[in-house]
């Protein structure tokens, strides 16, 4: 005997196309033009901060930085779909999600200047710090989501991974665990087509990344990740359904810039590839929509850009006033500092960390 025991398929969703035309049948009712305008402003602010961080890094005023250029819809749309109690577990690129959730800009800038202290306000907005080892954070999101189920808080969790991260074991383990635990979590693949120099085609021969959900037995969906309305809808649907368990969401987007400031994409990526994605820009299409609706024009655009410039400049100024305290490295390793560590700290502090030059004179 032979019979088919399983069938699987993956849907793709787009609500607003590249020209700003909206499929009203798919548009969530609560996504008023006012909310879309808000999304536009958050995406624009994210892009403006991105440009500022690149400039600061080039001037030696910030550490290595991973830009989010081109990926704003995936980040902002997801954040807008969250409820007030929900949690957010990023990788290292979701600046737009932090901003939309209310992370103070000066804190984000401080973090990217190279201070962990910058991430401290994340707790207040139910966010976990940026996580660097790819896909390891997904398991934290699953456990965090389960803790909300266990404590019956009604909160859910969204988390992000890149296309490269889906090749890691932890990616599969997180979906599998989430399915078993019925964890209220949306695992969002920000598929920007590149993992440093490796294109999406080097990660897997699977035609979609969303279909990886099928192996874990959880729902999977693919969405136009440059369409903030569609991202909003699929994440909102996943969180509405979160009481029944996890969802995997693949946002199709494009990394318009470098992996991080430590990398030169012209070495491995033809400019023509990047050009193809320019008309699909997530901010451009929302701008076109708002202009068609007479909700936006050049003077409003200039006013917004000026406001963002001032906000960001003020945040940079505040971040640059931060007084460093190298002692803080020692102070938060354990709840109670052990004697052996205290001794090392005391030696370092009393010698002022050996920062004074000593020529033996």
């Amino acid at each position: 005997m032979e019979k088919r025991v399983f069938d699987g398929s993956i849907n793709y969703i787009q609500i607003m196309d590249e020209n700003g035309n909206v499929d009203e049948n798919l548009r969530p009712k609560e996504l008023t033009d006012g909310i879309i305008l808000q999304m536009y402003k958050y995406m624009s602010l994210t892009r403006a901060l991105d440009a500022k961080m690149l400039s600061l890094q080039r001037q030696g005023r910030a550490a290595t930085y991973g830009p989010s250029l081109g990926e704003e819809a995936a980040q902002v749309g997801s954040a807008m779909a969250m409820g007030p109690k929900d949690f957010f577990v990023p990788n290292f690129r979701q600046h737009g999600t932090y901003i939309t959730r209310g992370m103070p800009l000066d804190a984000l800038i401080l973090y990217w200047k190279g201070y962990e202290e910058g991430i401290m306000p994340a707790r207040k907005i139910n966010a976990i710090p940026y996580i660097v080892p790819v896909s390891t954070q997904l398991l934290h999101a699953v456990g965090l989501a389960y803790s909300q189920l266990y404590q019956n808080t009604g909160a859910s969790v969204i988390t992000f991974v890149g296309d490269g991260g889906t090749s890691e074991g932890n990616f599969y383990e997180s979906m599998n665990f989430a399915g078993i635990l019925k964890a209220p979590v949306a695992i969002i693949i920000e598929n920007n087509q590149w993992a440093i120099s490796e294109p999406r085609s080097r990660q897997t021969v699977a035609p979609t990344l969303a279909q990886k959900a099928i192996a874990a037995g959880i729902p999977g969906v693919q969405v136009d990740g440059n369409d903030v309305l569609a991202v909003y809808k699929v994440v909102r649907d996943a969180l509405t359904n979160a009481k029944n368990g996890p969802t995997l969401i693949e946002c199709i987007t494009y990394r318009m810039s470098m992996h991080t400031t430590a990398d030169d994409p012209t070495k491995y990526r033809p400019d023509a590839d990047v050009e193809k994605w320019k008309p699909r820009d997530p901010i451009l299409r929302v701008g076109n929509y708002l202009r068609k609706k007479a909700l936006w024009d050049d003077s409003k655009q200039s006013a917004m850009e000026e406001e963002h410039r001032q906000t960001i400049d003020a945040a940079v100024e505040k971040a640059e006033q931060f007084k460093k305290d190298p002692k803080s490295m020692f102070e938060n390793i354990y709840a109670t500092m052990p004697a052996m560590l205290k001794e090392e700290e005391d030696a370092a502090v009393s010698a002022q960390f050996w920062m004074q030059k000593n020529d033996g004179e």
């Binding site: 962990e116 401290m120 707790r123 934290h140 560590l341």
Partner: protein, 321 residues
């Protein structure tokens, strides 16, 4: 009650689950089966699958998910079936469990007790007999505990559950059922970060822990020497003071552990003594450990793990100097 180490740990887990409704046990076969060493026996029946949870076979999943649970206000007590399999979760332990507190300057932390069996002597397959305590201690930020008797095992585990950080609780399988001891039935703590003094003496100091504590005791009683025997108990952070006090008192130090000799805990202890008590020693420190090679197959483990003979040889050597 008279209890072996398995019963003592089982009793501690029962008390922890009773005391703290945010505490859960999770791992492979910890539920109905009660764990492959029966350490969680009966807890599934008493607390149900919400508190004592069988998980998929996924060590990184168990530890990574536990980190998330801890961030979310729970108090997970994950079990990894053998330390030899915990390397799959090494990333989660040394990149995350030990870093969340410093990464967030104390705003997020990971209160979790990771239990796993370590060390050899029970005739198992590959990867069931390792002593990896130095690897985890070197990472920084992880508290690493190894009990050597039922009383300490219960008290240290309860103390670990009261900490607000990740504790690796490494259980020597060889000692699980080796002997029974009188263990109080209620809650008590054996302090973490404090070495135990097994015996006090004048002629030499033997600093040891885990499976080697009974081996050292037997060696000392056979040689009828007057020895300080220090049971380190907490590998990281190490109780330097107790070790230095003893070294200064006797002037002769032997360090004995089952883990391989090179780059091990013994190197750390002897370096601290050399830095701070060198001129109070009257002979060189001797380290006794397993050879610096991976753990062998069962038919060779008796030739590999330090035994009484090896400890006695070290005692004879240091007393002849």
């Amino acid at each position: 009650m008279m209890a072996n180490m398995v019963t003592a740990i089982n009793n501690a887990l029962d008390l922890i689950l009773q005391e703290d409704d945010k505490a859960i046990i999770l791992g492979e076969d910890v539920g109905k089966d009660g764990g492959v060493f029966r350490v969680t026996d009966g807890l599934f029946d008493k607390y149900g699958d919400r508190r004592v949870m069988d998980t998929p076979l996924s060590e990184s999943g168990i530890i990574g998910t536990s980190i998330g649970m801890a961030l979310g206000g729970m108090h997970p007590i994950p079990e990894v079936q053998f330390a030899g399999f915990m390397y799959l979760a090494f990333d989660q332990l040394v990149n995350h469990a030990n870093r969340y507190r410093s990464r967030t300057r104390g705003t997020w932390n990971v209160p979790m007790v990771v239990r796993t069996p370590i060390s050899g002597g029970v005739r198992t397959l590959e990867h069931h007999s390792e002593s990896p305590e130095a690897l985890y201690s070197h990472a920084g930020g992880l508290t690493v505990v190894i009990p050597s008797n039922p009383y300490d095992a219960k008290g240290l585990l309860i103390a670990a559950s009261h900490m607000n950080d990740t504790v690796l609780f490494l259980e020597p399988t060889k000692l699980y059922r080796l002997f029974k001891q009188d263990v109080p039935e209620g809650i008590y703590e054996v302090p973490i970060g404090k070495a135990g003094i097994v015996s006090e003496g004048e002629d030499l100091s033997i600093i040891t822990y885990g499976t080697m504590v009974p081996v050292v005791k037997n060696a000392v009683s056979k040689r009828k020497v007057s020895a300080d025997i220090i049971d380190v108990r907490t590998i990281n952070p190490i109780d330097e003071k107790t070790i230095l006090d003893s070294a200064k008192k006797t002037g002769k130090v032997i360090i004995v552990h089952e883990a391989p000799l090179s780059f091990g805990v013994g190197a750390e202890i002897s370096a601290r003594i050399a830095e701070k008590a060198m001129f109070e020693l009257d002979s060189p420190i001797i380290r006794v450990g397993s050879p610096s090679l991976p753990y062998p197959f069962p038919q060779y483990e008796d030739y590999y793990v330090p035994n009484e003979g090896k400890v006695i040889a070290a005692i004879d050597k240091i007393l002849s100097e």
